[in-house]
């Protein structure tokens, strides 16, 4: 029997972040319905802190769900998480920049600050009774010993899954394999992988991650996403379906995209 792998679709979050792309409430709700029907494991539905319309949209998506788990995206800020709580999602995802350039030059903080803040935020969402997944933003340029020590801390806290994000799309398959294995061995948490396609390697890296033990792979419809996009769902499924028990099937993913094109015409 084939091993299982699961799709986390981020069309409605990272996909919508593409410059110039904005979905209306109706478009997001409709897209989520189609994703749910196609059997997507998890739908990253958006970031409640953006504002009222986004929140209403996410609430509607949650109300409609049948098969999929619905997650919301948060920065490492308790205020963001409180906005998520208003929506009662299935999963609260908290994104933490972990590379030194991001911690020191973007946030202008330090490693200790990040570790404490992450512990507080993850702890808060867990106390509220939610499944919590943590995203390591810019993990591909991070110091792996730092990433591993964070993973040990989060595993002990009760975080179910950590997401390794290749935020600027600089990984290759062999480097992806090494990273996934290192983090996987660090603690008893499940691994999710989030690729970007800057060097045209998103699908290959995602396959490498799945082979190295990542149970969850992030994809978007039409490969939407920042810059050259995220991992395209169909391209990933085309390879992955040969090795893994994974939903949707390639045919269902194609139908899904075609339906969206027709609906939004």
């Amino acid at each position: 029997m084939k091993e299982q792998r699961y799709i986390v679709d981020t069309t409605l979050r990272d996909g919508e972040q593409t410059a110039g792309v904005a979905f209306s409430l109706a478009e997001k709700v409709r897209t989520a319905l189609l994703l749910d029907r196609a059997g997507i494991y998890q739908i990253e539905s958006g970031a409640p802190m953006i504002g009222k319309i986004e929140k209403d949209t996410i609430c509607k998506i949650i109300e409609n769900r049948v098969n999929s788990k619905i997650s919301t995206w948060n920065r490492i800020a308790e205020s963001d998480i409180r906005h998520s709580l208003d929506c009662c999602p299935d999963i609260i995802h908290i994104s933490a920049p972990v590379s030194y350039p991001h911690i020191y030059s973007k946030l202008k903080k330090n490693k200790e600050w990040l570790r404490n803040r992450l512990r507080e935020c993850a702890g808060f969402a867990l106390e509220m009774g939610y499944e919590v997944t943590i995203g390591y933003e810019d993990a591909s340029r991070a110091d792996m010993s730092f990433v591993i020590s964070l993973t040990e801390m989060l595993g002990a806290l009760g975080v179910s899954t950590v997401r390794i994000a290749d935020t600027v799309g600089v990984l290759t398959p062999s480097r992806t394999t090494e990273m996934i294995r290192e983090v996987h061995n660090a603690a008893d948490v499940r691994i999710e992988f989030h690729a970007h396609n800057d060097l045209g390697c998103a699908a290959a890296n995602s396959i490498a991650a799945a082979r190295a033990g990542a149970a969850f792979i992030d994809t978007t419809l039409f490969g939407l996403g920042e810059r050259a996009g995220n991992c395209d769902m169909r391209t990933f499924i085309k390879s992955a379906a040969q090795m893994y028990d994974i939903r949707p099937s390639l045919a269902d993913a194609e139908t899904l995209e075609n339906e969206l094109i027709t609906l939004n015409r």
Binding site: A19, G20, V21, A22, S24, V168, G169, D198, A228, T235
Partner: protein
């Protein structure tokens, strides 16, 4: 419709690995466009679909060209490469792109010690896109750091003019819009240090960054855009401008143009 044969490009690419100047690269790739229809197959080409066949190939003479292996990413590609290269150190790999993994395989082949890879500009013909492989080698192993890759945008335009193919707006490395950025976190990070959210600078590949306004904009982008209009505003007004930008973008289901932003500024400030 221009048809570019795999073999011709394989041959040309082998040459590009040894050249170092912008002009040479430019002319070489353009020559491929011009001559594509008249290219003839060269000898010693083996089309291959199954990685197991590489053992057989390795027994052949050195300098063999392997074309295909589209599904290799799902197998132990490192072992396949090392077996091939141990027998045939000058083997040339031209990975097929049926599964969208050819660029990554070409890069892995080089990192495994392979010296010759065959690729095609924009992936025409179903191979690894030249531009992706060049940037991937630059970013991951610092390959030919002096090579001026800003010519890639011009080559892309020349291919389009020649009817050879058009790069999508989001095509890695050469897409017209890959350096457009809108989301608040990204704009803020880029204004502090572009490397925060860019794997290489737009100028490297002859493109430009554009800060765009829309539903996902944050305050930094509004401040930045105001500045380009020679204006500034207090925190409260920036908040109101941002709200209007976001609302209008959500209503229109697209980003806000610079002209539309000027209109918003005139109404609100």
């Amino acid at each position: 419709m221009l048809h570019i044969t795999d073999v011709s490009l394989a041959q040309k690419w082998a040459e590009t690995l040894d050249i170092g100047t912008r002009n040479e690269l430019y002319h070489l790739l353009l020559r491929v466009v011009d001559n594509a229809e008249t290219q003839n197959a060269v000898n010693e080409t083996i089309h291959i679909a199954d990685a197991r066949e590489t053992a057989q190939i390795a027994r052949c003479a050195d300098g063999i060209r392997v074309i295909g292996l589209d599904t290799l990413i799902s197998q132990d590609y490192a072992a396949v490469f090392s077996r091939l290269l141990s027998k045939s150190p000058n083997a040339e790999l031209c990975p097929g792109n049926e599964f969208g993994c050819a660029a990554a395989l070409a890069v892995e082949f080089v990192q495994s010690g392979g010296r010759r890879i065959a690729v095609s500009f924009m992936g025409l013909g179903g191979f690894a896109p030249t531009e992706e492989v060049l940037l991937a080698l630059r970013v991951t192993i610092g390959y030919k750091p002096g090579l001026d890759l800003s010519v890639l945008a011009e080559i892309s335009a020349a291919y389009e003019r020649a009817g050879a193919g058009k790069a999508g707006e989001r095509k890695p490395v050469i897409g017209r819009k890959i350096f457009n950025v809108e989301s608040g976190i990204h704009v803020n990070g880029i204004l502090k240090n572009a490397a925060n959210y860019e794997p290489f600078s737009p100028e490297t590949v002859g493109l430009r960054r554009r800060i765009c306004l829309g539903k996902h904009s944050g305050r930094s982008a509004v401040v930045y855009k105001l500045k380009t209009l020679g204006k500034s505003a207090d925190a409260e007004s920036i908040g109101r401008l941002l709200q209007e930008v976001q609302a209008q973008s959500a209503r229109l289901s697209r980003g806000i143009t610079d002209t539309e932003f000027e209109g918003i500024v005139e109404r609100i400030l």
